[in-house]
């Protein structure tokens, strides 16, 4: 087939959600609930084995994501960003939601080794990619050198932007930048730190760059 209409189901099952169509659907769902028995009868509960039917939420689509080397087959809303999917579906909450509009960098992850803003990427469009989050960099017992350096140089205060800063810093080391502090500042300009830990972030990044 020329065009892969892999999400046709979502369109037919939920259609285009407007306020009017949403209300009419809620109405229909309420009516359906009203006529279904609230609980299975004791007889059927005894005779039928307990089945855990796969939980499918109407309008969601099946996708496969490869995150930190692990493959996850999940159901997501087509509107779900990679950021929300990592946090809400895969419970990888190390990646943070800041502005949700590609302006702050808190959501930075690696896709095929390159840093991106996961808040601006739809999860359903990342299915053939190798995704790395802060959870895939190191472990508390075995920190990535950049994580160690952020600890050593005190590259944070509240810590909310830190996973994004570290993901950005790890990627930047592989990018063509000059060796100066000003180059680090420019390369890290997509990661905002409201605490203003910038001097220490630059020091942490430079320390790793000197030894790598």
């Amino acid at each position: 087939m020329a065009i892969d209409e892999r999400e046709k189901e979502s369109q037919t099952s939920l259609g285009r959600l407007t306020r009017r169509s949403f209300l009419s659907r809620v109405g229909a769902a309420t009516a359906a609930t009203a006529i279904s028995p609230l609980a299975p009868s004791p007889a059927s509960a005894e005779t039928s084995p307990t089945k855990t039917a796969p939980e499918t939420i109407p309008g969601t689509v099946p996708i496969t994501l490869r995150v930190n080397g692990q493959v996850h087959a999940i159901q997501v809303d087509p509107r779900a960003t990679l950021l929300d999917t990592l946090r809400e579906t895969l419970y990888l909450t190390g990646t943070k939601k800041g502005c949700d509009h590609g302006q702050c960098g808190a959501c930075t992850v690696h896709v095929n080794g390159r840093r991106i803003n996961s808040c601006l990427a739809f999860a359903a469009m990342q299915q053939n990619a190798e995704i790395t989050t802060i959870e895939g960099l190191g472990t508390p017992e075995n920190l990535h050198p950049m994580q160690s350096s952020f600890v050593e140089y005190d590259g944070f205060q509240c810590g909310y932007c830190t996973s994004g800063q570290i993901m950005s810093a790890v990627a930047m080391i592989k990018e063509p930048w000059g060796s100066g502090d000003a180059d680090v500042m420019e390369a890290m300009s997509g990661n905002i730190c409201r605490c203003g830990a910038y001097p220490n972030i630059v020091a942490a990044v430079q320390a790793v760059r000197r030894t790598s």
Partner: protein, 334 residues
């Protein structure tokens, strides 16, 4: 964000066919191509864009950067901004483009954003982004909140009584100075449009921003071979040192024959409703001595038609100084 259907285009004709079902390729299109998504997803979250269908074109083989038989450069629609900026040929032959790209957005965004996506980048006018406000670009006929409103960042050239929104791209300013050709695949086959004819002035229909028709897919841009010995540079002035849109920017391509300017292309960003090529400045400089007085005269010519708004009058002088500074820098190289 409203619900949409996501489909994946396997071929260019599939993509064209899918988008051709939309009543328009302009603001409010029912079907949108999606590549990097940095601009579109942002606007979908703001409910400024609400396509019924997204056509994922990332699978199309449109990512290459390659030299043309004529000695120019072909840049695929899907070539990422970060890759174009670091391409050896771009850095050597078209430094103005590399510099413009590196001055825009952040490294993360440049890793996602594509050449064609940047070409179609939407304005950052706050009233366009806010669906509660009147905006003729977003909702034709609703009025323009920016005229008499918060317009410090907005345009002083090419404006109309209906819209003063700035084209925010840096890439497109460089492409204007480099006289890029935009290559489009449409329902009637391929066609090529010079960038000078690609963008429309807002006039009374600011929702119509480009010549793109339903089904039109930008496949690549080509850059002509630069004149031997020509030098180029991009200068961007902004509120922050990095990661900010331009208040004024300039892209200059210049060649000198001794002291005289024998080739000159001038384009400006941050001040126009479209990437602003200034033929007036070019005419003022062609054949003249490369001197600060002549640069100043060219800058005056470039801004002669400027119409400042209540808060952006400073841009007139800022743009002139940006031009003079940038011309001086390129002249040192040329």
């Amino acid at each position: 964000m409203e619900l949409f259907q996501l489909i994946t285009a396997q071929t260019i004709p599939d993509a064209v066919k899918a988008q051709a079902k939309s009543a328009t390729a302009q603001n409010g299109a029912d079907v949108r191509f999606i590549a990097g998504g940095t601009n579109l997803v942002d606007y979908m979250k703001l409910n400024v864009e609400h396509p019924r269908q997204l056509v994922d074109i990332n699978g199309l083989a449109l990512g290459k950067i390659e030299q043309t038989p004529e000695g120019g450069l072909k840049i695929g629609a899907l070539a990422r901004n970060a890759d174009v900026a670091q391409d050896p040929t771009v850095k050597e032959q078209y430094p103005v483009l590399s510099q413009a790209l590196l001055s825009g957005a952040s490294p993360q965004l440049r890793n996602m954003a594509t050449t064609a996506g940047n070409l179609l980048q939407k304005t950052r006018c706050v009233y366009y982004r806010d669906t509660v406000s009147a905006c003729n670009k977003r909702q034709p006929g609703s009025g323009c909140s920016a005229i008499g409103g918060y317009n410090r960042m907005l345009a002083i050239l090419g404006t109309s009584d209906h819209c003063i929104a700035t084209n925010p791209s840096d890439q497109n300013v460089a492409l204007a100075a480099l006289e890029a050709i935009v290559h489009i695949e449409g329902t009637n086959g391929p066609r090529a449009v010079p960038i000078s004819e690609f963008y429309l002035l807002p006039g009374s229909t600011p929702d119509q921003e480009t010549v793109l028709q339903p089904g039109d897919l930008v496949t690549h841009v080509t850059l002509p071979k630069p004149p031997a010995g020509a030098k180029s540079a991009y200068l961007k002035l902004r509120d922050r040192a990095s990661y900010e849109f331009a208040l004024a920017s300039t892209a200059i391509v210049m060649k000198k024959d001794g002291d005289r300017i024998s080739f000159i292309r001038v384009a400006m960003g941050g001040v126009g409703t479209r990437p602003w090529r200034s033929v007036e400045a070019e005419k003022a400089l062609m054949g003249k001595t490369a001197s600060e007085a002549n640069f100043r005269a060219a800058a005056e010519a470039a801004l002669r038609g400027a119409k400042p708004q209540s808060q952006n009058g400073f841009k007139v002088e800022l743009a002139k100084r940006c031009l003079v500074q940038s011309m001086g820098q390129v002249s040192q190289l040329a």
